[in-house]
Structure formats: C-alpha cells, structure tokens
C-alpha cells in the first residue's frame, strides 16, 4: 500500500497544491533546517563560496549540493516529482521547466513579497508561468553576437564595426567564408537548439511565437521570411557551417568559435569566457561583441536565464526560499558575473560599473534589453522543440519549403496548446 500510494492515479491530491502549506509561499520568520539542492553543472560559484556564505549568514545547513548534467536533470526531476519525493528541496529551473513543472503542480508558488524588487524582467520570466512565480533566477542570459576580429581583418572588413543589419551580416559572413572556414555557425543539431535558432530569426524579423491566447502565429509572413533567410545562410549564401546541423549544444559552438575557424556566432554570454580562455585561439582583443543584427528590426534576442525553484513536496520550504533569495543578493550575483561570465539578475548589479569592467559583454546585454528578448517557455516546450526540429531539419535539407514546414508545425502546436492549456 505504501508503494502504490505514492503515485496512485486516483489520488486527487496528486495534483495541484499538495505541499505543506496551501497558497503562495511568503518569506518570514527565521527558517532553519537542512537543504538538499540539485543544480545543473553551469555554475561553480555555489560550491566554491556561496554555500558557505549562505550557511554562515542564515544558520541553515546545506546538506547536499549536487551538480547534475543538464541533459539528465529533466528526467531526474520528472522521476522525483512524479514519485512525490521530498528528499530534494531546491531544484534548478529555466523558463521551459518552470512552465512545465509549475503547471504540473510540482513547484512551490512564491508570493510577490518573496520576489526582490530589482529583478530584471527576462530573468523573472524564466521562473514564472502565466503570472505565477515558481522560483527566483540565479543568472541572466541572453544571446549576443560574437565575431572573430582576426578573420574579419583578413577578409578586409572593419574588424571593430559590428554588422548592424542582416544584409551586412550576410556580407560579412560571406567575406569570412573560405575553404576550411565558415563565416557563420549555429547549433541546430538537437531539438532545443532548433527551436532557439528559429525563435531568434523569428524575433529578428519582428515576428512572434504566440498571440495573447497562445495561438501559434509563428507561421506568419514574418516567420516564413525569417526561416527562408535563415535557410539561405546554408543553401544560398553558403556561409553557414554545415556542421551546424549536427552541433547539439552551445558548448560545441563555443569551442568551434574558439578554435578560430568560424567568423560569427550568436551565443550565450559564456562564449566570451570560452573565447578568451587558455585553449582558445582568440583573446579579449580579437573577440568582437555586439547586438545581433535584425532583419526587419534593429535587433532581438532570446533569453536563457536560469533559476532555482522549490520542490512542492519539500519539507523545508522556508529554508529553501531563503536560499533562493540569497542567490539573488548582490555578493553572489557579482561573483557570477566576475567569475563565470553570466549576466546578473538584478538591475542593481547590472548597473554597477564593476560588472561591465569584469565582463565587457554586459554592455551589449544592457543594449539588448531595449529590444525583444523572449524564450516562450511553456509546458509543451519539449514537444514543440521536437516537432520544430523535424521541420527545421527538413527545411535545411531542402525537403520541405519553409511555409509548409511552419504551417505544419503551427497546426501541431495548436493541438499541443489545446492539450496542455486547459
């Protein structure tokens, strides 16, 4: 009985707010206890210093802090939550998972009073779904353009001037393309990458994924044009490294750029650290950074902020909230910027001149916030990524025209929305 009771399908309490307290979690009191945190392996700073600082500041003990491989975490969380496991208190999250796990009732909703006032909007979006806040961000992340100044110079370009429009970008990429070297590369080898790259061009062309009622509108004229232009990088202009189609993650792309054989990439902020790192052919002087050139708008980008959320079955929710809040504090955020090359989640740290000094990319980031930066994390993100990756691959391989591909994807998405958005 104890076994099946854990995940009995007939049990109405299996869904919704099944935690220790009903309703959103408010901060207060002086929480105590022990925490178990399951994070991805993006940040080293917590283990290095933040946990110790947190323990001495709050008296809460972090019993275990585990870094899992990002690719494995979803499965692990899904198993934990489905079994109503209470051993893990804090889990890492991002826009997609926030929506997915939040809607499933597996994450503890936070009261507005628990949210720091100076949070940057995209970072807050990464931990919210349909107006409810399910966690607090740990760092912000937005894609920007990086280019190799050495290659640009060799191609006879003005190495310090970023291409500002799509046409300029294509021209620059063309100039930097030569045998054994491509002007541009991206990562569309896996579903998430396919989605991100599509979303990016869609936004760059002024389009959007959904309207207010989550009706898919990405098969609009802007969408079709954007996808066509993206495809042409590979098929017409031949500036995109064909290996992009098999590159399955951002780090491969980062390495590729650092190897010095790729002119331009649109990548997450960690690219700066990789490109200026020891193993790289580039240096701080030869890495160019700027806004991603738009097609019909000046620029746009996609968001990749991450955060922490609280397991709804946790028995230490107050203590967990204390950890979430501690991570957003200035000292921790500053370290994340300084030591790891991610953007901070609060405007206070973002505007601090120290940040831009430590991480030049921060300047670009601030500019980016003027333009559309979205992610559209939804409960159906996995399914959408998957189906979109199939269509995108067909488009890139010339099997399906962009319009047909998008129409097909949109109608499938509509079914998904209907299923999950009740």
């Amino acid at each position: 009985a104890t076994l099946s009771g854990c995940v009995s399908p007939g049990d109405p309490s299996a869904k919704g707010s099944a935690g220790a307290s009903d309703g959103p979690l408010k901060p207060g009191g002086k929480p105590a206890g022990e925490l178990t945190i399951l994070d991805d392996n993006t940040n080293k700073v917590f283990q290095a210093s933040a946990i110790a600082a947190f323990q001495s500041a709050t008296g809460i003990k972090v019993k275990t802090y585990t870094m899992g491989n990002f690719n494995d975490l979803h499965d692990r969380f899904a198993t934990l939550f489905a079994a109503k496991d209470s051993t893990v208190d804090v889990v890492m999250t991002w826009a997609g998972w926030t929506a997915e796990f939040g809607q499933a009732g597996w994450l503890q909703e936070l009261d507005q009073t628990a949210v720091p006032k100076d949070l940057i909007k995209p970072a807050l979006d990464a931990v919210s779904w349909r107006g409810k806040v399910y966690g607090l961000p740990k760092f912000s992340s937005v894609q920007t353009m990086f280019w190799n100044k050495t290659l640009a110079k060799q191609a006879g370009l003005d190495a310090d001037k970023a291409p500002a429009t799509w046409d300029e970008f294509v021209a620059a990429a063309k100039a930097m393309t030569r045998p054994g070297q491509y002007g541009y590369a991206c990562d569309i080898g896996n579903p998430a990458g396919a989605y991100q790259n599509f979303l990016r061009v869609l936004l760059l062309n002024g389009g959007d994924m959904y309207d207010q009622d989550y009706k898919p509108i990405f098969n609009s004229e802007q969408g079709v044009e954007a996808l066509t232009k993206f495809k042409e990088l590979l098929t017409l202009h031949k500036v995109m490294d064909p290996a992009s189609l098999q590159t399955t993650n951002a780090s491969d792309l980062g390495d590729q750029f650092a190897r010095g054989s790729t002119g331009i990439v649109f990548n997450w902020p960690f690219q700066y650290a990789v490109a200026t790192g020891k193993a790289s052919k580039l240096t701080a002087q030869t890495v160019g950074n700027g806004l991603i050139p738009g097609i019909s708008v000046r620029s746009a980008s996609i968001d990749g902020s991450e955060g922490f959320a609280i397991n709804n079955y946790s028995k230490n929710k107050e203590a967990a909230l204390a950890w979430l809040q501690f991570v957003t504090t200035g000292t921790v955020q500053q370290k994340i910027v300084d030591q790891e090359g991610w953007f901070p989640v609060t405007s206070t740290v973002l505007d601090d001149p120290k940040s831009a000094a430590a991480l030049p990319v921060v300047t670009t980031y601030k500019e980016t916030t003027k333009y559309a930066t979205k992610r559209w994390g939804t409960p159906w993100s996995n399914e959408l990524d998957q189906l979109l990756s199939v269509q995108l691959n067909n488009v890139m391989n010339g099997k399906t025209p962009p319009r047909d591909a998008l129409n097909s994807a949109a109608s499938q998405t509509e079914a998904l929305v209907k299923r999950y958005l009740k």
């Binding site: 597996w106 579903p191 990756s389």
Partner: protein, 317 residues
C-alpha cells in the same frame, strides 16, 4: 474399525511416509536454492512491469493539472494510429533488421574465419572481445568523435584519400545518422554474436566435413550445405536475442545524439520514443502503452524462439 487391524495400515504408510520425507527434503533444497533469485526478479521486475501495464490503461499526463483518468485500451488504440509511432516503428525495424542481419552475417563469416587454425588465432579471438568491453555510453562518444562533421576522422580520411569532395555531415542528416548508429551498434554487438557462432561451429563434428569432401562438395558447397544448416540453432538464437537487444538500444542513441534521438527524430526508435514520451512529454500512460506494444512485438519473436528452443533441446538429447 480403525483399531481392528493397525499393523498393515502402518506397514503400508511407513515407507510411503519415509519416501515422501526424502522428497520433501529435496523439495525444500530446490526451493531454497531457487527462491531468492526468483523473488528478486519477480519483485523488481514483476512489480514495475505490472505497474507499467496499469499505467498504460490511464490517460496519465503529468503536465496537465488533471488527475489520471482510466481509458482502458484507449492508449493502445492511439498507438495504432499515431504516425510518430509508425515512423519510429519503421525506423526500429530498419535498425533491428540491419544490425541483426549484418551482425549475424558478419559473425558467421568471422567465426568461420576464426575457426581455421592459424598463428595468433587466440590473440585475434581475445581482441575480438574489445568492442564487447566498450560500454554503450563510451560507444556513443567514440562514434561521435569519429563521424563528427567537422573534426571527425572519417572526414579527414575521406578528404585525404579524395573519396569525399566535401565534408560529409554524417550526424546532420537523419538517414546518415541512422546508418552511423547501425554501424556503431553492429560493431559493438559483433563479438558476442561471433562467440555464439564459434560455439556453434565447434559443435559440428569435424568428420562430416571430411565426409562431404569425399562426397565431392567444394569449399563453398561445404559452407552452404554443411556449415550453414548446422548453425541454424545458434543463428536463430542470435537473431531473436539480438532483435530483443536491438529494440532496446538506448544508451548509444542517447549519447550519440545528445539525448534527442535526432536529428529530426532520425534515430528515434520505438524504445527511444517511449523514453521521450515518458520523460520529456511526461505522458506516462501513453509512454507505457508504446513501450508495452513494442514489448509485445518482441514477445512474438520470443514465442517463435520457444518453438526453436524446443526443437534444439530435442537435438541435444
């Protein structure tokens, strides 16, 4: 009545009772020996399996806020009509057919080769074990390094020898990736199949080859008419067991394709699809239904195997 003539009753009962005591002892021994293993298997496989069957009867999506509802065979009906399942099934059949087919064919040929006496044969047989010892995860990483579109050694060699005009994006095209997967899997499963075939070859009496030579059969005919028919047992066994294993392949796909079964679902076999549905889509009922349907498919092979097995046991006697 009972007290009238107790002696014969006793006399008849005692040996029977004695004998049965001996039998009880044997029985207790047999149960004691077999039970722990069976209990573990039944508990740790039987319970989850039953649970999976149970789940497959529900519309059990973790992502919707609605509680699971019983749908009977609804999920199975949906499986039948799902184009994604059909595509995955075809992919799986292709994968299984080629890995198993190529694997068994190569295994027979290699086994025949290694059954001939030559210097260093033992060494070759030992090295044969190398792919077997490579864990699936490592296998995935390994072939990814080899077939990578920009840094892969196959491209370097192909370009160097002038076979390719340009880099081939093996892992960017669904068909190519499937072929790489097939290649990787075949490489890995070959040693086991080879040993199986070697075992079968050792079981063929040497004299019937001599008899065939005297009877005028050439080398090729001896292979076709003596070796192959006599390997029927091991071959059938290899076919079926390997089909089971091929349908279950997960780790290699996962690592080779960065956990996606891509590109464009190109390597999403039925088992991988069940994984995606269960763990990415969190649609547990449907995922279970897909997996169980696949299992049933495999069990059809098992039934077939049972028949073959019975045949083989008779030969042994």
């Amino acid at each position: 009545m009972a007290g009238q003539d107790p002696a014969p009753v006793d006399g008849a009962a005692t040996p029977a009772r004695r004998r049965s005591r001996r039998r009880t002892r044997e029985l207790r021994f047999a149960i004691g020996m077999a039970a722990p293993a069976l209990v573990i298997i039944v508990l740790l496989l039987g319970y989850p399996m039953g649970y999976a069957v149970f789940m497959s009867g529900f519309d059990w999506s973790e992502k919707t806020a609605t509680p699971p509802s019983f749908v009977g065979l609804g999920n199975y009906a949906a499986v039948m009509h799902d184009p994604q399942v059909l595509a995955a099934l075809l992919r799986t059949l292709f994968f299984a057919a080629v890995t198993v087919g190529a694997g068994v064919t190569l295994a027979v040929l290699i086994a025949v080769l290694l059954n001939v006496e030559f210097r260093g044969r033992t060494l070759v047989r030992v090295l044969l074990l190398v792919p077997w010892a490579v864990p699936p995860v490592v296998n995935g990483i390994m072939w990814k390094l080899i077939f990578d579109g920009s840094t892969g050694v196959v491209n370097a060699i192909g370009l160097g020898l002038g076979i390719f005009h340009d880099r081939v994006q093996f892992l960017a095209d669904p068909t190519w990736t499937m072929n790489v997967l097939v290649f990787a899997e075949t490489w890995k499963l070959l040693p086991f199949l080879c040993l199986l075939m070697l075992a079968g070859l050792q079981g063929i009496p040497a004299n019937i080859y001599k008899a065939a030579r005297v009877d005028g059969a050439g080398a090729w005919q001896r292979f076709l008419r003596i070796t192959l028919p006599n390997l029927r047992g091991p071959i059938t066994f290899a076919l079926v067991v390997q089909t089971m294993w091929s349908l279950k392949v997960f780790d290699t796909i996962y690592v080779l394709t960065g956990g996606s079964g891509g590109p464009a679902e190109g390597t999403t076999t039925i088992n991988f699809l069940a994984y995606l549905v269960t763990f990415s889509n969190l649609d547990r009922g449907y995922g279970a239904a897909i997996a169980i349907s696949a299992t049933v498919l495999v069990l059809l092979f098992a039934v077939f195997w049972t028949v073959v097995l019975r045949d083989r046991k008779e030969v042994a006697r």
